[in-house]
Symmetry: C2
Subunit: 101 residues, 2 copies
């Protein structure tokens, strides 16, 4: 029993932050989203979304492509393979914990 419970302390802290879990979960579903879509869908302020995306990019979990829609800046985000795998791992760990307790 103990082992199973303690294992929770090893979850990926980057993904264990609810705002980021939500961002990643959205990206996991759609495969590509622009900044504003992500903001609406995740219910975050621009500032916080920006900060969280930077961290996720730094970790290699998301790719950010800065482009334009006409003359307006457009920021496109997608999960990398590493991000995809990290999320699946995270999900499995959490699920395992929930079930075993």
């Amino acid at each position: 029993m103990g082992e199973e419970i303690r294992s929770l302390t090893e979850v990926d802290r980057l993904l264990h932050e609810p705002s980021r879990t939500v961002i990643i979960a959205i990206l996991y579903a759609v495969e590509s989203a622009d900044f504003l879509y992500l903001q609406r869908e995740a219910g975050l302020t621009k500032g916080n979304l920006s900060a969280h995306l930077s961290k996720l990019e730094e970790a290699g979990y998301v790719e950010i492509e800065k482009t334009y829609r006409g003359k307006i800046p457009l920021t496109l985000c997608r999960l990398t393979e590493a991000g995809r795998k990290a999320f699946e791992d995270y999900r499995r760990q959490i699920k395992n914990f929930i079930e075993k307790v």
Copy 2:
């Protein structure tokens, strides 16, 4: 879909910290545990366990009874009704998220 995902940002941050989740999960199972048992079982240092317990106590999630076993100090911890309910709520939210994504 969106609602279900966003809801994760409303989880109880106190319980969403892995160390504390583990502490509470243990207390949920045993109904009463002393400091050192908890420390071993949760795999925490004394310092961190002490700090986390203080927070949980402050939140009204655990009761801490300081007594003695002979002449040695003994700190007994148990979940309050509020703590029990909070953990059940937390668990339900997490489970719901995991399932819906």
